[in-house]
């Protein structure tokens, strides 16, 4: 009697183990996105992720033949994107990921699916800032570890840094400072600025005079040319069928005008 009961328990455990193994099988498609960038990739209270990068990722995944419940989003931060791809912790990365030659040494890029540049966000009522030169006498907020403030320091010099620049933990912390006039401008990628500003319609103005160029691409394992071509085809289709425009308007609201047309793909 007892033997049979133990046998039944063992059987049940084995069945559970196999079903678990089936769940964690290879049919999941893991996508690395940002969790803290409104408009691009932001974790929602309901547990889902929302933003332009997320929409692009979902479209591409669908084109690659994955259904919605096979897609799994995983948080990547700027510092761990290459290792996550190399170690296979994610299948692709769609996370404000600029295409650079240095990165191409270790991973591959599909795209670009969006071109942006370092821009300036000010209060809607503040018309004194026309372009980057106006910042010479304006208080600016940047994020620690971001390359955007460094570019301004290079332009205006160290004394400017002491007087006019503060570097906080992330651009989200800059927003209240701008709103309450503690600083006059935030400067980084236009997409990031647009994402934050779109949350509070009418409060902020995006200057729209980019002074650098960032091409956002989709990162994947180096030399996986087959997948890269498939993703490029998917992006191309997304550009042509109007989905790209739809995603821009849905995520950047009034600031969608700054991303009027899709970029040219760079197949290699």
């Amino acid at each position: 009697m007892r033997v049979r009961r133990i046998g039944a328990v063992l059987l049940a455990a084995a069945a559970l183990a196999t079903s678990l193994a089936a769940c964690s099988g290879d049919d999941k498609f893991v996508i690395g996105v940002k969790f803290d960038q409104p408009g691009l990739g932001l974790k929602q209270p309901d547990g889902s992720v929302k933003g332009f990068d997320v929409d692009v990722a979902k479209y591409v995944a669908k084109e690659l033949g994955y259904s919605d419940d096979q897609i799994e989003f995983k948080e990547t931060v700027s510092a761990n994107r290459e290792p996550f791809i190399q170690q296979g912790q994610v299948d692709i990365v769609v996370a404000t990921y600029s295409i650079t030659d240095a990165r191409k040494e270790v991973i591959s890029f599909a795209g670009p699916y969006l071109i942006t540049g370092q821009d300036i966000l000010t209060r809607a009522a503040d018309t004194g800032i026309a372009n980057v030169d106006s910042l010479a006498t304006k208080k600016v907020c940047g994020a620690q570890g971001s390359s955007s403030p460094a570019r301004l320091v290079e332009k205006f010099g160290e004394p400017w840094k002491g007087q006019y620049l503060t570097e906080q933990q992330g651009y989200g912390a800059c927003l209240p400072l701008l709103e309450q006039s503690q600083v006059d401008a935030i400067s980084t990628d236009a997409t990031i600025l647009a994402g934050f500003a779109a949350q509070s319609p009418g409060k902020f103005r995006l200057v729209g005079q980019p002074f650098s160029e960032e091409k956002y691409g989709i990162g994947l394992k180096k030399d996986d040319k087959e997948t890269r071509d498939k993703i490029n085809n998917a992006i191309d289709k997304m550009f042509k069928d109007g989905s790209w425009k739809k995603y821009v308007d849905a995520n950047f609201g009034e600031f969608g005008q700054f991303f009027a047309s899709p970029p040219a793909l760079e197949r290699y």
Binding site: G172, A173, L175, P176
Partner: protein, 288 residues
């Protein structure tokens, strides 16, 4: 000395004066609180939309609790490594062999003297620059916490063992125990009882220090409160206040455990040592 010996029991006039002063200070407090309230109100910080997220179950489940979980798991991992680290280095500092004692002492003193944040930054950048490792913010935070708190724990262990009367060792050796046996069977069991409260208070410090992870973008509780929540609801100030309350609740709870342990070990007759004060203790030795 009890505080009450600093002043006489107030007579009728003293009582009246105390009452007047109490009311005066209470009014002052209320005025200050009101001024603060006015400022908050002026800036719209009492807007229901900013506080309402904290009443929603999904905000807690999906945004705050994962952060809390990360904070606790970093603290637990660091504690599990730091405590053995402390015991090994604490006993190494009491070793009779100079070649063990001196390096152990140097390591402990070095890591106690330099700031935790410097170690975390070094782990983050040095790991990849020197060893080609990918150092996640989790491992960087845990590394820093282990090296610093492990070194402080080593000092606690050393103090705990040294606080035992010499007679304990002598008696143990006299009955024929070897040095290792004396340490394991006689000294350590007594020392652990004496230093338990100090160890637990150091673990509270460790738990508090996990918040440094925020500076290296570790997804901890402070990160949830100061980055993720404001990104969703633009409620930085309310969110930071709620996070502070959570930290205070947790730390007070763990601190209570330390106090309880200290009371118990003070009553305990299982040890010949007095309870050990943590090194760098901010309080004066009680017996003067």
């Amino acid at each position: 000395m009890r505080a009450s010996v600093l002043y006489d029991a107030p007579g009728p006039r003293g009582r009246r004066r105390n009452l007047v002063l109490t009311v005066l200070f209470a009014v002052l407090l209320v005025v200050l609180a009101y001024l603060g309230y006015r400022k908050f109100d002026e800036k719209g910080q009492f807007d229901a939309a900013l506080w309402e997220p904290f009443l929603r179950a999904d905000v807690w489940v999906n945004l705050i609790l994962p952060g809390l979980w990360n904070t606790l798991s970093a603290a637990a991992t660091a504690a599990l490594i730091a405590v053995p680290f402390g015991f090994v280095f604490g006993m190494a500092r009491l070793s009779e062999h100079t070649w063990i004692r001196i390096p152990a002492g140097a390591i402990v003193e070095f890591f106690r003297a330099i700031p935790l944040l410097i170690m975390i930054f070094f782990a983050q950048y040095g790991g990849s620059a020197v060893f080609g490792l990918t150092v996640t913010s989790f491992s960087a935070v845990v590394f820093g916490l282990v090296m610093y708190n492990g070194s402080v724990l080593a000092e606690i262990v050393r103090a705990g063992i040294s606080s035992l009367p010499r007679g304990q060792t002598e008696a143990a050796l006299a009955v024929g125990l070897r040095k290792g046996q004396a340490m394991r069977l006689i000294l350590l069991p007594q020392a652990v009882t004496a230093m338990m409260p100090a160890i637990v208070s150091q673990l509270v410090v460790l738990l508090k220090d996990t918040a440094l992870g925020f500076i290296v973008a570790y997804e901890d509780l402070l990160n949830a409160g100061a980055r993720i929540l404001p990104s969703n609801f633009r409620n930085l100030i309310p969110s930071v206040i709620v996070m502070a309350l959570i930290y205070i609740l947790i730390n007070v709870a763990v601190g209570q455990v330390a106090t309880w342990l200290e009371k118990r070990s003070r009553r305990s007759r299982k040890t010949t040592a007095k309870p050990v004060a943590p090194p760098d203790s901010v309080t004066a030795p009680a017996s003067l």
